[in-house]
Symmetry: D2
Subunit: 385 residues, 4 copies
């Protein structure tokens, strides 16, 4: 078994979340659970910085993304999908199922979307109704400027779908701040929660569009509408919620609010900054083309020439018990991913990451100056004092 998991998710949950998971399972229609559910949803809204209760879908975030596409995108819609990585690109496949035309802006997967390009496209194609963008494209470890993109969309009256699955809770990103009409996130990444739920914020404009979409699913696990008012104690659940996952969500969100969001973001940022410093000091290359687009919640490292990513990950796991994530899709084999999410978003884990990565590379005959790497991590931590 691994000793320390530094994956890009699912991540190690906080102990308080694990304890919440072991709460007795209760009958979902009992008033005590209905009130608990309401309280959890309202608390989640608070964490999202909004007064609108989010929809909690009873499955992991891909359900939220698939459901968002199905609900929001009508048969007459032109959708602009921004693809700066595997996840952003992937959303296009769901969008294409429902829309009249899918337009894309695509950049290399070690780069980020330029807001100007979005602005230009929206001018060129005034028929675009919906834009979709991934904030932190996890397989790349890069972030897109969703705040700027959201403002541009609003100016063009374009509805925006933002995938903030692996950034919300670890970075300062909130649906209303970034003008997101649908904002999908997860309890199991930066919130250090469990993996079986998905949080979907839907703006008033988005609900209006969904209500007007005859193809928006109902009577389906894919339905946003079915769950729209499920947070209200006087409304029946459309089907059984995942009781234990709700217990876990409650604990994860409470834990986040108790620690203080700013403090949580700060330790995610410091851990990532220290990790990047260590990686570079070892003589390795970050995957993103420039540091300003690196996520605070995962660090991606280019696989050194002559080595195989699987061998590096296996060696790190075998020697040190440290687990990293592989690349995905077209990036498989090109990079190694180090997660900084939830309980491991702590600078000491940057030491662990740099040592295990460098040690594994060195053991395989690569070049990695681990001593310099760890010194650089410590210097970055010093810099935060």
């Amino acid at each position: 078994s691994p000793i320390i998991t530094l994956s890009a998710g699912p991540v190690d949950a906080y102990p308080v979340v694990l304890r919440a998971l072991s709460r007795p399972v209760t009958y979902d229609f009992d008033p005590s659970f209905q009130k608990f559910y309401e309280s959890t949803v309202l608390k989640t809204a608070e964490s999202l910085g909004t007064a609108r209760p989010p929809v909690i879908l009873q499955g992991e975030p891909v359900l939220g993304l698939e459901a968002a596409a199905a609900a929001l995108i009508g048969a007459d819609d032109v959708v602009l999908n921004l693809a700066s990585g595997e996840y952003g690109k992937g959303f296009g496949f769901w969008a294409a199922r429902h829309c009249r035309e899918l337009v894309e802006i695509e950049v290399p997967y070690d780069d980020a979307i330029d807001p100007e390009a979005v602005s230009d496209m929206l001018k060129a194609r005034p028929d675009i109704r919906i834009l979709s963008v991934c904030h932190h494209d996890t397989p790349s470890g890069t972030v897109n400027p969703v705040r700027e993109i959201g403002a541009i969309c609003r100016a063009h009256d374009v509805l925006t779908i933002v995938d903030a699955v692996s950034s919300f809770g670890g970075m300062d990103v909130h649906p209303e701040d970034v003008n997101a009409d649908i904002f999908v996130t997860s309890p199991s990444k930066c919130l250090g929660g469990s993996t079986g739920l998905c949080i979907v914020h839907v703006s008033e404009r988005a609900w209006a569009k969904i209500d007007a979409n005859p193809a928006a699913p109902t009577g389906s696990v894919l339905s946003l509408k079915d769950w729209r008012d499920a947070w209200r104690p006087d409304v029946l659940f459309p089907f059984t919620p995942s009781v234990s996952e709700i217990h876990a969500l409650d604990a994860a969100v409470q834990n986040y609010l108790d620690e203080g969001p700013e403090a949580v973001w700060a330790r995610h940022a410091l851990t990532a900054r220290a990790c990047r410093a260590g990686v570079r000091a070892m003589g390795l290359d970050l995957w993103p083309v420039r540091e300003s687009i690196c996520a605070d919640t995962a660090t991606t490292v280019r696989v050194p020439a002559g080595l195989e990513d699987a061998a590096i990950r296996q060696e790190a796991r075998r020697r040190y018990g440290v687990v990293f994530s592989a690349g995905r899709g077209s990036l498989l084999g090109k990079l190694v991913r180090i997660g900084h999410m939830g309980p491991v978003a702590r600078p000491i884990y940057a030491v662990v990451a740099v040592t295990a990565l460098g040690g594994a590379i060195a053991a395989l005959g690569g070049r990695a100056d681990v001593g310099a790497g760890v010194e650089a991590v410590l210097a970055a931590i010093d810099g935060a004092e």
Copy 2:
């Protein structure tokens, strides 16, 4: 908060399941989790009495039913849906989304399907390709003769979808025994597990039909196909499984196998038999028209004339802390449901149920001879000695 929950589900999970829920969340692609997942699926197959690994869908059983309809039923298919209750009837709505024609046999919701009627219909309509039936129609507390129906279907080369959500694990019903081609069940009813997963057995014939169905979903949370081989450690998960729910499933199934299925069924049966005896001895009426179709896993009681079901349930909860389930759909207000599933499938809980139900009715001015009811429960327990 309630003290004793005798709902028709979700039910109180076994303590060993609650402990399993608090296991550390692990990275799903780590080999240790992949092996754990395989082991859980194979163990679940064993509990189902089959060598075929079931598909585990990452949501509650309605996901499995919706997914089964979407995968199996093609645009040219004629489907025979058997409706002896709200759940059986409800499946027809999913079936109707996909089929050319939906045929139904419907009986009053306090009765069960007659296998002869099925046989007659299949003779009359040889174009029927698929039959769907709910074994225990939970809102009614009645069971359909799925074994006989399955044999008839096989004789007519008709594929069968069996909803065994609230019977498997508490009664002797297994996919291959009843000739089910798709058999959907839940960890959170008679297995006393958690609510966030669904177990779907798919026969070889059903897979062949699904493979031939161009509309069978892929790249979707609704897809059976995506998860078909996910149990194999060398196959990547299509999306993130609900790690904690898998931990819970493993514990629930292991607990079932450790206690011994026959012993588990026996205590479900005895609890239900004792409960029915107590209900009748109090002078109340069972909902089903005859006792031979009563489920071993829930007892439904007709609301006495002049009383309201909600008042009865509230009084039972307020006075005694005992929670029952309400009716659903067209049965709402007509009956009260007492669950006998998992940890509460123990005869002593028949005493609790009878006392709380009778006490509540008496407190509301109804007639219920609680003393006679409890004596009858004890006599039924004696009868099992």
Copy 3:
């Protein structure tokens, strides 16, 4: 395994206590634990209705009683021990190890101490310095009038040791209210906590006496003095506290304060009252000679002539999964004990108790009108409306 435990302790812990037990074990000298410990002790003081931080001894309550005797009783002391049951009598053995002379008032073990007898004895023997009394003598299910006795002791300037192990938290008994100088209780009875700790309130007068006693233990697990100031974060623990048990104590006390002590006592009292009514209505005899001395936290029932207590308990466990406690010492075989402590101090468990006891007796050929018993329980519950 048993299904429902109605023992006189250890009792089933509340779920919140079980979750607290699973908190990570922390280094006892870390400031975070030292603060947690302080907070737990102060919260426990609050529950005791006093501003004096109690001593938490790291073992079950007999440790507290043995330690109290060793610390308080000096070689020149005359001690009056009140013996109305096995536990009260038993304290005399510890007292006798340390005192010059042990005086006892003993009554039959189905009766309680008369305060007048205490008053008379203290007048007759003005050299008595210390009195010891058990509030709820658990093996008998009887309570002594500790409030009256405490007042008499105070008037005679006699120090009082009160064993409130199985009454505090379920009845209105607090050290300063009853003039107790040492008051020993447990987290694992009415508080529904864990079994590994003991709570010892020590008055200022008692500390003065202990400080003056050269034989009071130090450097020992038996020492009250070693732990006197351990609650202060700036004082080192004399040895390692039971970290997980402290977690459990914190949860148990918080749970008690959250529910509200009056509400907790009320449900203990109602459960006991209903249970006694049911027992009598079945035609069985309570063990105590009169109902006014029956404890709210356990009901003791005389074994009917011709039956064996072990057979009754075994039959209740085998048929119904219900566990009762046996008698102890000289009372073994004469009575059966039904606990009403913590989570099972709920009237519905009086139904369970009466049914299982009566059913077992009837199954063994004895006479017990279970129907009448359950009706009487319900009537008692009605009476509380």
Copy 4:
């Protein structure tokens, strides 16, 4: 709150232990618990490499040491206590309470006992009946040659008390291998268990001596005799065992047996070796005078001149969230202790320890070459390949 605890105990418990702690609390006299207790004790005996069921005392290991002294040492006995550290020295205080004469061999607390000195003393004082020795004197991080000492004692027919509290489970030390007549250990150090119990092996010779000692306690929490046969399901517990702690002990021992003792010792040894290499490579000094007496379960580092130990520990905790132990007694302020016990007995934690210690020292203006330290840790890990 700390992030990573590398204390010398209590240590972070294994997750499986935390889950076991959350098992329902059961009535201790129920047959199911009595069998569980027996099974736990026999499993513990297996881990100790003996067929003799150990005594489980219901408190932390100092209870075991105090109880051992009280039971074994009679008023006529001459006891030889070996003092190479605070804990060894401390046992002398308990021994002195009971013996006729206490003889000591004392060496500086950074050194270990020479078996020849023991041999010489036993020759010189043939009236010595009992020898006491601490295997790993935790405050010093040094180990005594208990195997050699035990053999010498046996040759002189001297009974031996061995304190193996912080070595058993992390090193190859077992009571019969080292001729220990009383062998005291803990679930909460190298076994990664909970803190509230103590394991005491007692040889047949020791029981004979105890039985012959009229002062051996009975009717006391200090009594070994009371608990001697408590493991037998047909013997009543003398007082209530700490139910949850027994659950935890069972899990900790099972976990140890499942992983395989040799594998567990190997990772303790490798972690310690790597840690020592890192400490030295940073330019710091180990506390023990020579590496051959360093424990596998804790590394002690001399506080560099000009720095304060408390400042170092606080800085490590504040910057990195890493907790170390302080010195104790006369060693307070002279050294910092790094634990390698249970779940943190993994080489990656030597990286964490070296980095946090070196980083803290450097931050305080001391000299510590962290880069070289981490490289040395990795080289040590490489050496184990």
